[in-house]
Amino acid sequence: MEEKLHYDVVIVGAGNGGLSAATYLSKKGKKVLVLEKHNLPGGCATSFRRGRFEFEATLHELCAMGEGETAGQIRRLVDDYGLKVKWVPIDEAFCSISLEKNKGFYVCMPVGVKAFADEMEKVVPGCRASVETFLEFGRMFSDGVEWLAKYYNEPAGLAKVKMLLKWKDLMKLVPVDTDSMLRKIGMPDKAREIVESYWDYIGTPSDSMSFAVYAYMTYNYLYRKPYICHDRSHEISLAFDAVIRKNGGEIWYCSPVKKIDVKDNVCRGVILEDGTYISADYVICNLHPDTAFKKMIDPEEVPVRDRKSMNARTMAQPCLTIYFALDKSMKELGLKGYDTFLRTTGNNRKQFDSCNSLKTHKENCFTILNAVIPDSSPKGTCLLQFSKFYTADVFKGVKPEEYFKLKDQLVKEALDQFEKELHVNIRDHIEEIVAATPVTWARYIGSPYGNVYGYIPHTWDGMFARVQSGHKIDHTIKRLRFVGSAGTQMDGYSQTYLSGREQARYALMDMKRGE
C-alpha cells in the first residue's frame, strides 16, 4: 500500500504569494509542501534565456523596500524571511510620454521627494504647492500604513480607538478617488497627468482609484526608491525556494494539483494530476479564485459567498509582454530611462477604456534593464521590454493557425509606434525577440485568460475594504485560504508577498484555535 502523505500545510502554486506563505509557515515550524505545476518557482517572477541573453519576465520594481532608515514593510519582510538576494535600488522614478496633440509631454522624473517636486515645478511651473501637498498626504499614508502593519492591519480595542484619532485623515481619504482629490488640491491638469502615470500598476484609472492607495505607492517609490534584484526575479524565486528548504519545507515541481478536496465546507487536502492524494491540516491556494472554484473544487462545495463574489467582481488584466535583445548599447541606440510610460493620451480613463481589444489598445510601457544594471546583458547590447495590460479575453475568436501571425503583428505594431515616436531605429538591431501574450501567461500560471492582476480594485472593492474582509468575511471554507494578486493586498510583487504573509498568519491562528 502507498504510504499516506500528510503535511501540516500544502501550498498550491509557487507564485509570489505561495512562496511567501510557505516561507512564513515553515519558519514557524510547520511542515509545508509547495506544489508547483511548472518546473520553476515564481510564477510571473522568473526569467528566461535566449541565446546569450537572460530576460526578466515581469519585475518592473518593488515598492516599500528602502534600506536603513528608509526601510519599509517589504524590506522588513524580505529580511525577516532571510532571503539572500542582491537588491538594487533604482535612482529614477519614471519617464512618461503623452502623445496627445498640443497637450503632450515627455518627462523623466527623479526619485527623492524633493527632487521630484523640483522637477515637477520645472516641467509644469506653478504646480509645486499641489505636488508637495500630494506628497505630504503620501507621507502621512505611508506612516499610517506602517502603523497599521504593526497591528497586522487589525487594530482592535484601544488600538482601534487610537486609529480613529490618529489616522482619521487617512481614513477620510481612502474612499476618495485620486482624480478628484488631485483636482481639489489644485494640481494643474498636465501635472496631474504626469503624477498619475503609475496608474497602470494599480490597474484601475485614477477616477476610480483610492487616493490613499495611489499617494501611498507614489510616496513609497520616491522616498524609499524602487528596487529590483541583480539577477532577474528568478533570483528572488530561487532564494525563496532555498529558504523554504532550509526551514524544513518541501517543494515539488512539475506537480500540478487537479483537485482541492473540500467536503462539508472543510478543506482536507489535494489530489495531484497523477492521482496522488495529499492530506493537509491546511491548504493555501495561490491560484486565481476563479480557477480554483470553477475547476478544482466540487461545485456543490463552492460557497454562495464565493459564487456571488466571482460574479460581482471584475476580472483584472492579462498582459502582453514583448522582449528584445538588441545588439547595440542604450547609448548607441539613443535610449534613456529605466521605466517609461508611452501613451497616446494623458487621460488615463481614455487609456483604460481602450484596453479591452487588441485593435484599440495603443498604450505601452517600456523598460530597459541596462539603465539600472548595465551588465545585465553583454557589453554593447541592451535589453528592452514592452508591456501592456488588457481588460478582456482579447484573443477571443483567434484560431490556433492565426495565433503566431497575430503575435508577430502585435510585436510589429508596438515596435512601429516605439520607433516612430522615439525617433530610434530598433529593428536593425534585434538579436532576440520574444513575445508573451495573455495565452502565454495563461499557459504558465493557469489564470483566467492570463490575468495577472486578480480583480480590478473598483472603489467598492478597494484594498482597504479587502484587507478588512481578509481575515474572516472572505474566509469561506475552513482550512483553505487564498493568496496572490486576487488577495486583499492587490497586485504586484510587494503586494503578493504581503498577501502570502497575511493569509499564512491567519492560517496559523486558525490552526492554533483548532479551526
Binding site: 530561487l238 518541501e250 456571488k308 495565452v439
Partner: protein, 393 residues
C-alpha cells in the same frame, strides 16, 4: 496634527463614515450578484490547450522507408498542436524497460497539423549505435503508440528579427526543420526565401532529395544546393557566397562538427550574431577532451542519488556521460526536452557534489549558479552527486 504639512481645508466635508462603511458596501455589492457558478470558459485558456499541450498521445499511422532513415507520420484522436515551421517535439521512447525522451524536428508543414487529418512527420536516421533511434527504426510498426510533447524550440523564422532570406545549412538529419520551412513557404504558411545548403557524405546519404527537388521546382522562393563531401568537399563561405547575395540570416542544423565549421564561415562572412542562428543539436557527448575538463577525472564512476518528490533512487554515473543519461539508464525518467542545455526543462537542484557543465551548452540562468541549480542534460558528474529533480510520471 501638525506633523504633516498639508492644509486641513482639503479634508473639509469628508468624514470617516465612508471608510467605516466600506466593508458593508462591499458586502452589499457581492450580495446583490447572482449565485450562478459559471463555467471556466475562456478563449485564451482553450488556446493554451490547443497550442501548448504538455503531452500528445499519438499513433504511428504511416512509415516511409528512406535510405538510412525512416519517416513516421504521427496522428492522434484530436488535432495535433499547430506550430512554427522549424520547431521540434520531445518523444518518449521505451527501450526495454528504460524510458527516454528524445527531441525530433517536425519535418512536415504546420498546415498538415490542421483539420481532420492532422499529422506530424518525424524523420529518424538509422544509427546502429543510437540507443533509442535503433529501437525505433527497427521495431516500430504502424499502429505503435507514442507520447510526444507539445511543439518546442526557437528555431524558426521571425519576420522582424531575421532577414527575408534564410540560408539554411543542414547536415545529415539536420535537414528536417528545413523541410518543414520549405513546405510552409510552398503552401503559403510562411513568407520568406529559403536557400537550403545541404551537406552530406555522398548522394546516397541525402534525405528527402526527391521532396526537396520537387519543392524547389514548385516554389520560386525555395532553392536547394547539395554539397557532397566526396565531390564538392565541405560547406565553405565560398560556396555560400556563390549562391547567396545580399542580406541573409544563416540558420544551421546538423551534427556538432557542422556548428564549428559554420562558426568559422559566419566569421568569414562577417555575419553579426543576429544573422546567425543555430538549432540545438542534442547531446553534447563525451566532454573529457574539453580543455577545462579536469584530466584526473576522465572516465570515473560515481554514486548518484536522485530525489524525486519523496522518493530516493540510487544508481551509478560516469564523468563522461550526462546526469540525465545516467538517470534514464538507472530507471528514473527525469523531465527533459532539448537535451542540449538550452530549454531548462530538466532544471534540477544539485544538493551535493560537483559537476562539469561545458560552456558551449551551459544555458543556465544567473541565479542558478548562486543557488546550485543545474541542467542535468548538459552536466557531467565530478564527484558523488545528490540531485533533486522535478517530477515526471
Amino acid at each position: 496634527m501638525g506633523k504633516y504639512n498639508y492644509s486641513k481645508k482639503y479634508l473639509k466635508g469628508l468624514s470617516v463614515g465612508p471608510f467605516l462603511k466600506q466593508v458593508k458596501i462591499r458586502n452589499e455589492h457581492i450580495e446583490a450578484a447572482s449565485d450562478e457558478l459559471k463555467p471556466f470558459d475562456y478563449h485564451s485558456n482553450k488556446l493554451v490547450e490547443q497550442l501548448h499541450p504538455s503531452i500528445q498521445h499519438c499513433k504511428v499511422s504511416k512509415i516511409i522507408n528512406r535510405t538510412d532513415a525512416k519517416s513516421f507520420v504521427l496522428t492522434s484522436d484530436k488535432p495535433l498542436a499547430y506550430f512554427r515551421a522549424g520547431q521540434y517535439v520531445s518523444m518518449n521512447i521505451k527501450v526495454g524497460k528504460i524510458m527516454v525522451s528524445r527531441p525530433f524536428s517536425i519535418s512536415s508543414s504546420p498546415k498538415k497539423a490542421l483539420g481532420k487529418n492532422s499529422s506530424y512527420m518525424i524523420t529518424i536516421k538509422d544509427n546502429p549505435d543510437g540507443f533509442s533511434s535503433r529501437e525505433v527504426n527497427k521495431n516500430w510498426k504502424v499502429g505503435q503508440s507514442v507520447d510526444i510533447s507539445g511543439p518546442q524550440g526557437e528555431f524558426y523564422y521571425q519576420s522582424l528579427r531575421d532577414a527575408k532570406h534564410i540560408v539554411g545549412v543542414a547536415g545529415g538529419s539536420g535537414i528536417t526543420p528545413f523541410i518543414s520551412m520549405a513546405e510552409a513557404i510552398a503552401d503559403g504558411t510562411e513568407d520568406f526565401s529559403l536557400t537550403i545548403i545541404y551537406g552530406a557524405k555522398n548522394k546516397n546519404a541525402l534525405l528527402f532529395k526527391t521532396e526537396l527537388d520537387a519543392l524547389a521546382k514548385k516554389c520560386k522562393k525555395v532553392k536547394v544546393v547539395y554539397v557532397l563531401e566526396d565531390k564538392d568537399g565541405f560547406i565553405t563561405s565560398k560556396i555560400i557566397k556563390k549562391y547567396v547575395k545580399g542580406d541573409f540570416s544563416l540558420f544551421v542544423c546538423g551534427p556538432r562538427g557542422l556548428y564549428k565549421a559554420m562558426d568559422k564561415v559566419a566569421s568569414e562572412l562577417k555575419l553579426t550574431r543576429r544573422r546567425f542562428r543555430k538549432e540545438v543539436f542534442g547531446e553534447y557527448g563525451d566532454p573529457s577532451k574539453d580543455k577545462d575538463f579536469p584530466k584526473d577525472l576522465v572516465n570515473k564512476t560515481f554514486k548518484l542519488t536522485v530525489i524525486m518528490r519523496n522518493k530516493k533512487y540510487h544508481m551509478p554515473c560516469h564523468s563522461n556521460e550526462t546526469l540525465l543519461n545516467a538517470m534514464e539508464k538507472g530507471g528514473v525518467h527525469a523531465p527533459s526536452r532539448c537535451r542540449s542545455g538550452e530549454c531548462g526543462w530538466c532544471h534540477s537542484l544539485l544538493m551535493e557534489g560537483k559537476i562539469y557543465a561545458p560552456k558551449e551548452v551551459d544555458g543556465r540562468r544567473l541565479a542558478d549558479y548562486t543557488f546550485n541549480w543545474i541542467h542535468p542534460c548538459a552536466s557531467y558528474p565530478l564527484s558523488d552527486i545528490v540531485l533533486e529533480v522535478p517530477y515526471n510520471k
